[in-house]
Symmetry: C2
Subunit: 453 residues, 2 copies
């Protein structure tokens, strides 16, 4: 029985035109990863649920896609559990596998399982889809790609400098103007110390983050609403209103946080990273932003966030330094720093700004018109020579009407159409039509190869 097919909500098909654009982005990122000495790994789509559960908070656990056990999945399941209707517990009992939620936890698991074969510092990259049972909405999907690069097993801040260069190079190649915002978890800890409220890091940063939108007075109000005294707010105010160059901001910050050892350490780290990065030169704008607070439960040092300057969209890339990647799997002391490119948002940015190079969606360089068996046989022989020279080519498989055949070349934006008709068959030439200019030339095989190469 015929059924009208559909795909699960929040997932997508990618047509050839979309794939060409996506591959352009992925290939650019991959090329730069290689240039910087990162090496690829892949992990299975399904992980054991015990690997995934409890790693993303209570909310995250709910967003995991679970895979039903094969065969008699109810076998041995306590009857009262089935009766209870407790879906969370029953789900965990009848599913032992789930789809990966991100690339970080699988990477941590990988490092632990393969630690004997790996050479530390280990620089890996991974480009694979992840799945989240989130409510689908514009720009948020249930299946999407992550592109992560991490260096683990090294505390050196040179790794941060390298990652910033890498980010800069990716977006330079893509033609996207960016601002890279930097912060350090230790500076945030220092601010909270200064405020006498070490547990209020998040509240403070959330409020500070709004200054551009709502202004200083409203931020102060919010800080008080969030439980800070007005004296504390006064102490923090100069930090919120830092201005000047990055060096000037770092200097002000150093005197404001002079009483916090942790804060000063954060400033020192950030200064080292920024100085080295600026010395090497950057296309991007580098900006110290004390309100930057991504991955607060995870990052312990540098925090990195990238914004597109010409499109209103959230962070398109982010990362940071962590102290303890693999402790949860029984291997303590593995520190590192990583960066994650948000492929789907970068795709949106490139679409908005129309930054794709011409010709990336080209199906083939040249299509041969099909006039019948004899002409087709000769065309195939020519096509074989073209392909041997690295030129992509095809023949229209049926000797359909000329209009239909040319229509294909038009629709697929194939730049050249080759014609081997009676005349060309007789003298061994090939007629080549440039579809953009409409110009047509009779060429020998070697002239054809030269022309198309």
């Amino acid at each position: 029985m015929a059924q009208k097919p559909s795909i699960p909500k929040g997932t997508r098909d990618f047509t050839p035109a979309e794939m060409a654009r996506r591959n352009y982005i992925f290939d650019t990122i991959r090329d730069v990863f290689h240039l910087f000495g990162f090496r690829q790994i892949e992990t299975p789509a399904m992980e054991n649920l015990c690997t995934l559960m409890g790693k993303y908070g209570e909310e995250g656990d709910k967003l995991l896609f679970k895979t039903l056990n094969s065969g008699d999945f109810l076998k041995g399941v306590d009857h009262s559990l089935i009766e209870s209707g407790d879906c969370a517990r029953l789900g965990a009992r009848i599913c032992e596998k789930g789809l990966r939620y991100d690339l970080t936890v699988p990477f941590a698991r990988f490092v632990v399982m393969h630690r004997g074969e790996l050479q530390f510092p280990f620089k890996r990259y991974q480009i694979q889809p992840v799945w989240r049972a989130d409510r689908p909405q514009k720009g948020r999907y249930r299946e999407f790609y992550q592109c992560d690069a991490d260096v683990v097993g090294s505390d050196s801040l040179l790794n941060e400098v390298e990652l910033l260069q890498l980010v800069d190079e990716v977006f330079r190649r893509l033609g996207v103007r960016i601002t890279i915002k930097l912060n350090n978890r230790k500076i945030l800890a220092g601010i909270a110390e200064l405020a006498g409220a070490p547990d209020k890091i998040v509240d403070i940063t959330v409020a500070i983050d709004k200054i551009d939108k709502i202004g200083l007075d409203k931020v102060k109000e919010e800080l008080i609403e969030r439980g800070l005294s007005s004296e504390t707010v006064d102490i923090i105010t100069p930090i919120i209103t830092l201005s000047g160059s990055n060096a000037e901001r770092l200097d002000s910050l150093a005197s404001l946080l002079a009483s916090s050892e942790t804060g000063l350490k954060g400033i020192e780290e950030l200064r080292e990273v920024m100085t080295a990065t600026e010395a090497l030169g950057l296309n991007a704008t580098l900006e110290l932003d004390v309100s930057l607070a991504r991955g607060l439960n995870y990052y312990t040092g540098t925090i990195i966030e990238v914004k597109a300057r010409d499109v209103e969209i959230g962070s398109i890339t982010g990362g940071g330094r962590y102290d303890n990647l693999t402790g949860v799997f029984g291997l303590p002391g593995v520190s590192g720093v990583g960066i994650s490119f948000g492929a789907d948002r970068i795709y949106d940015v490139l679409n908005t700004l129309d930054l794709y190079p011409a010709g990336i969606a080209e199906a083939v360089k040249v299509m041969f018109v099909n006039f019948g068996p004899a002409e087709a046989a000769r065309s195939l022989a020519v096509i074989k020579q073209l392909r041997a020279a690295g030129i992509s080519a095809e023949i229209y498989p049926d000797s359909a009407k000329m209009k239909k055949q040319m229509g294909r070349a038009d629709t697929l934006a194939i730049p050249y159409v080759a014609i081997v008709g009676e005349t060309e068959l007789a003298d061994g030439t090939i007629s080549l039509k440039d579809m953009a200019s409409g110009e047509q030339q009779r060429l020998t095989l070697s002239q054809l190869i030269d022309k198309l190469k």
Copy 2:
């Protein structure tokens, strides 16, 4: 609490060295797909279960990985169904999605959903993992990649000729010597007609297939065991013992199947495909094999199977022509022909024969030794220039002991190590050590770039 992590049975992690080898295979296949004008699509890992169920037979349904519905998956489920313990029916009720089992059904679904945007003939390729809850064993995984290329919307046999050229080119590039076996479903129908047993196609071909292993007499015995009369077996014997060149075999077959219109049509199709393919020239050996019977319930014309000549392993690539790709989704009349590369078996073949080019697993071209902040700063500036020239490079992130740093270069098979020490810092040179020869040279930056490019 620390847990010792593992991955689901039948799945694999791929380390950088393995990824380099796998990417070499995938990139080779992809490059050839592009050269032939095939365009990539991707479909989601999860499909609606109703898209997948009933498409792979009863056994196939059992091998589908099902995704548990999010949230309260028992809501609205009849209590008696839960009580019944009928896992198949309950599974279908609490899971509406599942992981794709192959790339063909998702492709058919894709063609139906996107038919308005596609240009027919549509030449698509797709390289993605598929999942099957099969019992894992040597060479059989629960997650593995398929690499499919299909042309749909054209009955022309030129498509077969093109696909055979494509297969030949892929394995020529990989350096694998192959035999391409060809058959045609209509010839099999003709043989069954001749035997007066149209329903016994499968029995007949299964028996014929064993002739090399068990000899003619045993094959005859088996045919009789499978219910054919000895007269019928005598009629079939000349077909089983076909010999000579492909052209001679086709001629013999044509006289043997002279009474079957369908059989003759099959011979005619095969002759056309083989003649055109041989005229273009092939590295592979092309062989008519009337016992070839893959995809018998699916293919309606040409049947293709590829065997490696130097490794004992099953089919490493296969394909064929079908009449009705999308009928099950309500779009009749979409015919086509396709080929599927078995990436995991090809990987095994290349591993067995050690056919990988040197240097594919190279982490970077050159690693800079780290002697401390000043030397590292100069090194990073040099590295930036190298990368701008397309040369992959890295610095050891910590100023660790020389032995440890050199150990990394050794283990990762990095071909060159660059040294910027006190001397080089003073005169602006770089010392370069060739790790294979042990030779060391002092170079200027531009000499270094020339040397490494």
